[in-house]
Symmetry: C2
Subunit: 205 residues, 2 copies
Protein backbone atom coordinates (compact mmCIF):
# COMPACT_ATOMS: atom_id res chain seq x y z
CA UNK A 1 0.00 0.00 0.00
CA UNK A 2 1.27 3.48 -0.86
CA UNK A 3 0.34 6.71 0.87
CA UNK A 4 2.47 9.74 1.77
CA UNK A 5 1.53 9.20 5.43
CA UNK A 6 2.96 5.68 5.36
CA UNK A 7 6.19 7.07 3.91
CA UNK A 8 6.36 9.47 6.85
CA UNK A 9 6.00 6.63 9.36
CA UNK A 10 8.83 4.73 7.69
CA UNK A 11 11.06 7.78 7.36
CA UNK A 12 10.65 9.40 10.76
CA UNK A 13 13.77 9.13 12.88
CA UNK A 14 14.22 10.32 16.46
CA UNK A 15 16.71 13.16 16.20
CA UNK A 16 19.36 13.98 18.78
CA UNK A 17 21.17 16.71 16.86
CA UNK A 18 19.22 19.89 16.20
CA UNK A 19 20.17 23.15 14.51
CA UNK A 20 20.43 25.65 17.40
CA UNK A 21 19.90 28.64 15.06
CA UNK A 22 16.44 27.44 14.01
CA UNK A 23 13.39 28.89 15.74
CA UNK A 24 9.63 28.28 15.63
CA UNK A 25 7.00 30.99 15.85
CA UNK A 26 3.82 30.88 17.91
CA UNK A 27 1.64 29.95 14.95
CA UNK A 28 3.70 26.88 14.12
CA UNK A 29 3.80 25.72 17.74
CA UNK A 30 0.05 26.16 17.97
CA UNK A 31 -0.40 24.13 14.79
CA UNK A 32 1.74 21.30 16.20
CA UNK A 33 -0.32 21.23 19.39
CA UNK A 34 -3.56 21.38 17.43
CA UNK A 35 -2.58 18.13 15.74
CA UNK A 36 -1.40 16.57 18.99
CA UNK A 37 -4.82 17.27 20.48
CA UNK A 38 -6.57 15.57 17.57
CA UNK A 39 -5.47 12.21 19.01
CA UNK A 40 -8.22 9.98 20.36
CA UNK A 41 -8.68 9.49 24.11
CA UNK A 42 -11.05 7.37 26.20
CA UNK A 43 -14.44 9.11 26.47
CA UNK A 44 -12.79 11.98 24.54
CA UNK A 45 -11.25 12.94 27.89
CA UNK A 46 -8.42 14.93 26.29
CA UNK A 47 -6.62 14.49 29.59
CA UNK A 48 -3.44 16.19 28.40
CA UNK A 49 -1.65 19.52 28.55
CA UNK A 50 1.34 20.80 26.64
CA UNK A 51 4.05 23.18 27.78
CA UNK A 52 6.13 24.38 24.84
CA UNK A 53 9.51 25.39 26.23
CA UNK A 54 11.07 27.87 23.83
CA UNK A 55 12.90 30.59 25.76
CA UNK A 56 16.63 30.12 26.24
CA UNK A 57 16.34 30.34 30.01
CA UNK A 58 13.54 27.79 30.34
CA UNK A 59 15.22 25.42 27.91
CA UNK A 60 18.37 25.54 30.03
CA UNK A 61 16.33 24.76 33.13
CA UNK A 62 14.64 21.84 31.36
CA UNK A 63 17.96 20.50 30.08
CA UNK A 64 19.29 20.42 33.63
CA UNK A 65 16.24 18.33 34.59
CA UNK A 66 16.72 15.88 31.72
CA UNK A 67 20.25 14.58 32.31
CA UNK A 68 21.77 17.43 30.31
CA UNK A 69 20.45 16.25 26.97
CA UNK A 70 21.58 19.00 24.61
CA UNK A 71 18.70 18.59 22.20
CA UNK A 72 16.51 20.27 24.81
CA UNK A 73 18.34 23.56 24.27
CA UNK A 74 19.36 23.08 20.63
CA UNK A 75 15.89 22.29 19.28
CA UNK A 76 13.63 25.24 18.55
CA UNK A 77 11.16 24.00 21.15
CA UNK A 78 10.87 21.13 23.60
CA UNK A 79 7.32 20.22 24.53
CA UNK A 80 6.52 18.83 27.97
CA UNK A 81 3.64 16.48 27.19
CA UNK A 82 1.58 16.07 30.35
CA UNK A 83 -1.15 13.61 31.20
CA UNK A 84 -3.90 14.74 33.56
CA UNK A 85 -5.20 12.81 36.57
CA UNK A 86 -8.80 12.96 37.81
CA UNK A 87 -9.96 13.23 34.21
CA UNK A 88 -13.61 12.99 35.23
CA UNK A 89 -13.37 16.61 36.40
CA UNK A 90 -12.81 17.78 32.84
CA UNK A 91 -15.19 15.55 30.93
CA UNK A 92 -18.23 17.83 30.88
CA UNK A 93 -16.24 20.71 29.41
CA UNK A 94 -14.63 18.32 26.94
CA UNK A 95 -17.94 16.93 25.69
CA UNK A 96 -20.12 20.04 25.91
CA UNK A 97 -19.29 21.06 22.30
CA UNK A 98 -20.47 17.66 21.03
CA UNK A 99 -23.77 18.32 22.79
CA UNK A 100 -23.93 21.92 21.58
CA UNK A 101 -23.37 20.77 18.00
CA UNK A 102 -26.50 18.68 18.37
CA UNK A 103 -24.95 15.21 18.25
CA UNK A 104 -26.07 14.14 21.71
CA UNK A 105 -28.85 15.40 23.92
CA UNK A 106 -28.57 16.54 27.51
CA UNK A 107 -29.45 13.14 28.89
CA UNK A 108 -26.64 11.41 26.99
CA UNK A 109 -24.18 14.11 28.07
CA UNK A 110 -25.17 13.65 31.71
CA UNK A 111 -24.82 9.89 31.37
CA UNK A 112 -21.42 10.35 29.74
CA UNK A 113 -20.24 12.39 32.71
CA UNK A 114 -21.67 9.84 35.14
CA UNK A 115 -19.99 6.88 33.45
CA UNK A 116 -16.67 8.67 33.26
CA UNK A 117 -16.90 9.61 36.92
CA UNK A 118 -17.66 6.01 37.87
CA UNK A 119 -14.74 4.83 35.77
CA UNK A 120 -12.04 7.08 37.27
CA UNK A 121 -13.02 8.70 40.56
CA UNK A 122 -10.88 7.47 43.45
CA UNK A 123 -8.95 5.10 41.18
CA UNK A 124 -5.46 6.62 41.18
CA UNK A 125 -3.82 3.70 39.38
CA UNK A 126 -6.31 3.78 36.54
CA UNK A 127 -6.02 7.55 36.37
CA UNK A 128 -2.26 7.31 36.01
CA UNK A 129 -2.46 4.63 33.31
CA UNK A 130 -4.97 6.75 31.42
CA UNK A 131 -2.87 9.89 31.74
CA UNK A 132 0.15 8.09 30.28
CA UNK A 133 -1.91 6.47 27.54
CA UNK A 134 -3.63 9.66 26.39
CA UNK A 135 -0.48 11.77 26.57
CA UNK A 136 1.44 9.15 24.58
CA UNK A 137 -1.18 9.01 21.84
CA UNK A 138 -1.03 12.80 21.63
CA UNK A 139 2.79 12.75 21.61
CA UNK A 140 2.81 10.36 18.65
CA UNK A 141 0.46 12.67 16.76
CA UNK A 142 2.70 15.60 17.64
CA UNK A 143 5.79 13.85 16.25
CA UNK A 144 3.89 12.77 13.19
CA UNK A 145 2.58 16.27 12.49
CA UNK A 146 6.08 17.67 12.97
CA UNK A 147 7.37 15.24 10.36
CA UNK A 148 4.62 16.22 7.94
CA UNK A 149 5.52 19.88 8.51
CA UNK A 150 9.15 19.20 7.59
CA UNK A 151 10.41 19.26 11.17
CA UNK A 152 12.46 16.73 13.11
CA UNK A 153 11.41 15.41 16.53
CA UNK A 154 13.24 13.78 19.41
CA UNK A 155 11.18 12.13 22.17
CA UNK A 156 12.59 11.63 25.67
CA UNK A 157 11.36 9.48 28.51
CA UNK A 158 14.36 10.06 30.75
CA UNK A 159 14.05 13.15 32.92
CA UNK A 160 13.47 14.18 36.52
CA UNK A 161 9.66 14.12 36.61
CA UNK A 162 9.37 15.61 40.09
CA UNK A 163 11.83 18.34 39.18
CA UNK A 164 9.98 19.18 35.97
CA UNK A 165 6.67 19.28 37.83
CA UNK A 166 8.06 21.66 40.42
CA UNK A 167 10.06 23.92 38.13
CA UNK A 168 7.37 24.26 35.46
CA UNK A 169 4.49 24.70 37.87
CA UNK A 170 2.54 21.57 36.98
CA UNK A 171 -0.67 21.06 38.92
CA UNK A 172 -0.79 18.16 41.38
CA UNK A 173 -3.02 16.40 38.85
CA UNK A 174 -0.53 16.76 35.98
CA UNK A 175 2.17 14.18 35.16
CA UNK A 176 4.98 14.96 32.73
CA UNK A 177 4.83 11.88 30.48
CA UNK A 178 7.31 12.69 27.73
CA UNK A 179 9.48 15.48 26.44
CA UNK A 180 9.46 16.00 22.68
CA UNK A 181 12.05 18.27 21.07
CA UNK A 182 10.99 19.71 17.72
CA UNK A 183 13.12 21.66 15.31
CA UNK A 184 15.41 21.38 12.32
CA UNK A 185 17.73 18.38 12.31
CA UNK A 186 21.46 19.12 12.21
CA UNK A 187 24.08 16.83 10.62
CA UNK A 188 25.35 13.91 12.68
CA UNK A 189 22.14 12.10 13.58
CA UNK A 190 22.12 8.34 13.68
CA UNK A 191 20.12 6.53 11.00
CA UNK A 192 16.82 4.91 11.94
CA UNK A 193 17.17 2.00 14.30
CA UNK A 194 16.02 -1.22 12.73
CA UNK A 195 12.94 -2.78 14.27
CA UNK A 196 12.18 -6.37 15.20
CA UNK A 197 10.63 -8.43 12.41
CA UNK A 198 6.85 -8.44 12.34
CA UNK A 199 6.80 -12.16 13.15
CA UNK A 200 8.64 -11.46 16.40
CA UNK A 201 5.88 -9.19 17.70
CA UNK A 202 2.66 -10.43 16.05
CA UNK A 203 0.30 -13.36 16.61
CA UNK A 204 -2.87 -13.76 14.57
CA UNK A 205 -5.59 -15.78 16.29
CA UNK B 1 0.64 23.86 6.38
CA UNK B 2 -0.70 21.26 3.94
CA UNK B 3 0.25 17.61 3.78
CA UNK B 4 -1.86 14.50 3.16
CA UNK B 5 -0.74 13.17 6.55
CA UNK B 6 -2.12 16.23 8.30
CA UNK B 7 -5.42 15.70 6.51
CA UNK B 8 -5.49 12.17 7.88
CA UNK B 9 -4.96 13.38 11.44
CA UNK B 10 -7.84 15.83 11.08
CA UNK B 11 -10.13 13.32 9.40
CA UNK B 12 -9.57 10.22 11.51
CA UNK B 13 -12.58 9.36 13.64
CA UNK B 14 -12.88 6.55 16.17
CA UNK B 15 -15.43 4.19 14.66
CA UNK B 16 -17.96 2.16 16.61
CA UNK B 17 -19.89 0.72 13.66
CA UNK B 18 -18.01 -1.69 11.42
CA UNK B 19 -19.08 -3.70 8.38
CA UNK B 20 -19.24 -7.30 9.66
CA UNK B 21 -18.85 -8.72 6.13
CA UNK B 22 -15.44 -7.13 5.65
CA UNK B 23 -12.32 -9.20 6.28
CA UNK B 24 -8.56 -8.57 6.31
CA UNK B 25 -5.95 -10.99 5.02
CA UNK B 26 -2.68 -11.87 6.72
CA UNK B 27 -0.64 -9.58 4.49
CA UNK B 28 -2.71 -6.52 5.41
CA UNK B 29 -2.61 -7.31 9.12
CA UNK B 30 1.15 -7.77 8.91
CA UNK B 31 1.46 -4.42 7.15
CA UNK B 32 -0.57 -2.70 9.88
CA UNK B 33 1.64 -4.19 12.56
CA UNK B 34 4.79 -3.30 10.64
CA UNK B 35 3.76 0.34 10.84
CA UNK B 36 2.76 0.06 14.49
CA UNK B 37 6.25 -1.24 15.26
CA UNK B 38 7.87 1.71 13.50
CA UNK B 39 6.89 3.89 16.48
CA UNK B 40 9.73 5.19 18.62
CA UNK B 41 10.37 3.76 22.08
CA UNK B 42 12.87 4.59 24.83
CA UNK B 43 16.25 3.01 24.03
CA UNK B 44 14.48 1.44 21.02
CA UNK B 45 13.09 -1.09 23.52
CA UNK B 46 10.16 -2.05 21.28
CA UNK B 47 8.53 -3.33 24.46
CA UNK B 48 5.28 -4.23 22.73
CA UNK B 49 3.45 -7.22 21.30
CA UNK B 50 0.34 -7.44 19.15
CA UNK B 51 -2.35 -10.11 19.08
CA UNK B 52 -4.57 -9.70 16.05
CA UNK B 53 -7.90 -11.31 16.92
CA UNK B 54 -9.60 -12.30 13.68
CA UNK B 55 -11.38 -15.63 14.09
CA UNK B 56 -15.06 -15.52 14.94
CA UNK B 57 -14.59 -17.59 18.08
CA UNK B 58 -11.73 -15.50 19.48
CA UNK B 59 -13.50 -12.27 18.62
CA UNK B 60 -16.54 -13.45 20.57
CA UNK B 61 -14.34 -14.28 23.54
CA UNK B 62 -12.72 -10.86 23.38
CA UNK B 63 -16.08 -9.11 23.09
CA UNK B 64 -17.22 -10.81 26.28
CA UNK B 65 -14.11 -9.42 27.99
CA UNK B 66 -14.71 -5.90 26.75
CA UNK B 67 -18.16 -5.09 28.07
CA UNK B 68 -19.84 -6.59 25.00
CA UNK B 69 -18.67 -3.89 22.63
CA UNK B 70 -19.94 -5.12 19.29
CA UNK B 71 -17.19 -3.55 17.25
CA UNK B 72 -14.89 -6.26 18.57
CA UNK B 73 -16.77 -8.87 16.55
CA UNK B 74 -17.97 -6.66 13.70
CA UNK B 75 -14.58 -5.26 12.74
CA UNK B 76 -12.38 -7.44 10.55
CA UNK B 77 -9.77 -7.62 13.28
CA UNK B 78 -9.32 -6.35 16.82
CA UNK B 79 -5.72 -5.96 17.90
CA UNK B 80 -4.74 -6.43 21.53
CA UNK B 81 -1.87 -3.98 21.88
CA UNK B 82 0.36 -5.17 24.73
CA UNK B 83 3.17 -3.43 26.54
CA UNK B 84 6.01 -5.54 27.89
CA UNK B 85 7.47 -5.35 31.40
CA UNK B 86 11.13 -6.07 32.23
CA UNK B 87 12.10 -4.48 28.91
CA UNK B 88 15.79 -4.75 29.75
CA UNK B 89 15.57 -8.45 28.95
CA UNK B 90 14.84 -7.72 25.32
CA UNK B 91 17.14 -4.79 24.67
CA UNK B 92 20.16 -6.72 23.35
CA UNK B 93 18.06 -8.51 20.73
CA UNK B 94 16.35 -5.24 19.86
CA UNK B 95 19.62 -3.36 19.32
CA UNK B 96 21.79 -6.14 17.86
CA UNK B 97 20.77 -5.23 14.27
CA UNK B 98 21.94 -1.64 14.79
CA UNK B 99 25.31 -3.04 15.81
CA UNK B 100 25.35 -5.57 12.98
CA UNK B 101 24.63 -2.80 10.47
CA UNK B 102 27.83 -1.12 11.67
CA UNK B 103 26.30 1.93 13.37
CA UNK B 104 27.59 1.15 16.86
CA UNK B 105 30.48 -1.01 18.01
CA UNK B 106 30.35 -3.78 20.56
CA UNK B 107 31.34 -1.51 23.41
CA UNK B 108 28.46 0.88 22.76
CA UNK B 109 26.03 -2.02 22.47
CA UNK B 110 27.18 -3.42 25.81
CA UNK B 111 26.88 0.01 27.40
CA UNK B 112 23.38 0.38 25.91
CA UNK B 113 22.32 -2.88 27.55
CA UNK B 114 23.90 -1.85 30.83
CA UNK B 115 22.18 1.54 30.92
CA UNK B 116 18.83 0.03 30.03
CA UNK B 117 19.20 -2.58 32.72
CA UNK B 118 20.07 0.06 35.30
CA UNK B 119 17.08 2.10 34.20
CA UNK B 120 14.43 -0.63 34.52
CA UNK B 121 15.53 -3.66 36.54
CA UNK B 122 13.55 -4.06 39.76
CA UNK B 123 11.54 -0.90 39.04
CA UNK B 124 8.04 -2.26 38.46
CA UNK B 125 6.33 1.15 38.42
CA UNK B 126 8.70 2.50 35.81
CA UNK B 127 8.33 -0.69 33.79
CA UNK B 128 4.58 -0.33 33.78
CA UNK B 129 4.69 3.33 32.78
CA UNK B 130 7.08 2.46 29.96
CA UNK B 131 4.94 -0.44 28.78
CA UNK B 132 1.88 1.80 28.55
CA UNK B 133 3.83 4.60 26.89
CA UNK B 134 5.44 2.42 24.22
CA UNK B 135 2.28 0.46 23.48
CA UNK B 136 0.29 3.69 23.15
CA UNK B 137 2.79 5.21 20.72
CA UNK B 138 2.56 2.01 18.66
CA UNK B 139 -1.25 2.02 18.84
CA UNK B 140 -1.39 5.57 17.48
CA UNK B 141 0.84 4.54 14.58
CA UNK B 142 -1.39 1.54 13.99
CA UNK B 143 -4.53 3.70 13.82
CA UNK B 144 -2.77 6.16 11.60
CA UNK B 145 -1.52 3.51 9.20
CA UNK B 146 -5.02 2.01 9.08
CA UNK B 147 -6.41 5.40 8.10
CA UNK B 148 -3.78 5.79 5.37
CA UNK B 149 -4.72 2.32 4.11
CA UNK B 150 -8.37 3.32 3.82
CA UNK B 151 -9.46 1.47 6.96
CA UNK B 152 -11.38 2.68 10.00
CA UNK B 153 -10.14 2.14 13.55
CA UNK B 154 -11.79 2.09 16.95
CA UNK B 155 -9.59 2.19 20.07
CA UNK B 156 -10.82 0.86 23.41
CA UNK B 157 -9.41 1.33 26.88
CA UNK B 158 -12.30 -0.31 28.69
CA UNK B 159 -11.92 -4.08 29.02
CA UNK B 160 -11.19 -6.74 31.61
CA UNK B 161 -7.39 -6.68 31.53
CA UNK B 162 -6.93 -9.71 33.78
CA UNK B 163 -9.47 -11.67 31.75
CA UNK B 164 -7.80 -10.77 28.45
CA UNK B 165 -4.40 -11.73 29.86
CA UNK B 166 -5.68 -15.11 30.99
CA UNK B 167 -7.83 -15.96 27.99
CA UNK B 168 -5.29 -14.89 25.37
CA UNK B 169 -2.29 -16.41 27.10
CA UNK B 170 -0.34 -13.26 27.79
CA UNK B 171 2.95 -13.72 29.58
CA UNK B 172 3.23 -12.43 33.14
CA UNK B 173 5.36 -9.63 31.70
CA UNK B 174 2.73 -8.53 29.16
CA UNK B 175 0.03 -5.93 29.87
CA UNK B 176 -2.91 -5.42 27.51
CA UNK B 177 -2.83 -1.64 27.09
CA UNK B 178 -5.46 -1.02 24.40
CA UNK B 179 -7.72 -2.82 22.01
CA UNK B 180 -7.89 -1.41 18.49
CA UNK B 181 -10.58 -2.62 16.11
CA UNK B 182 -9.72 -2.20 12.43
CA UNK B 183 -11.99 -2.71 9.47
CA UNK B 184 -14.41 -1.00 7.15
CA UNK B 185 -16.69 1.59 8.73
CA UNK B 186 -20.43 0.96 8.48
CA UNK B 187 -23.09 3.68 8.36
CA UNK B 188 -24.23 5.18 11.64
CA UNK B 189 -20.94 6.34 13.17
CA UNK B 190 -20.87 9.56 15.12
CA UNK B 191 -18.97 12.46 13.60
CA UNK B 192 -15.61 13.45 15.07
CA UNK B 193 -15.79 14.80 18.57
CA UNK B 194 -14.68 18.39 18.77
CA UNK B 195 -11.53 19.03 20.72
CA UNK B 196 -10.68 21.68 23.28
CA UNK B 197 -9.25 24.88 21.81
CA UNK B 198 -5.46 24.98 21.55
CA UNK B 199 -5.32 27.80 24.11
CA UNK B 200 -7.01 25.55 26.66
CA UNK B 201 -4.21 22.98 26.52
CA UNK B 202 -1.06 24.90 25.55
CA UNK B 203 1.34 27.20 27.37
CA UNK B 204 4.41 28.61 25.65
CA UNK B 205 7.23 29.58 28.02
Amino acid sequence: MNHPALDLIRQRVSANQFDPTHTLDDATIRELIFYAGEAPSCYNLQNWRFIAVRSAARKRALMALSYDQEKVVDAAVTVIVCGVLEPERGIRAAMQPFHDDGHIDREVLDQWVEETTAAYRDKPGKQRDEAIRSASLAAMNLMFAAQAMGLASGPMGGFDAAGVSADFGLAATEIPVMLVSVGRAAPGNWPRKRRLAVDQVLSIV
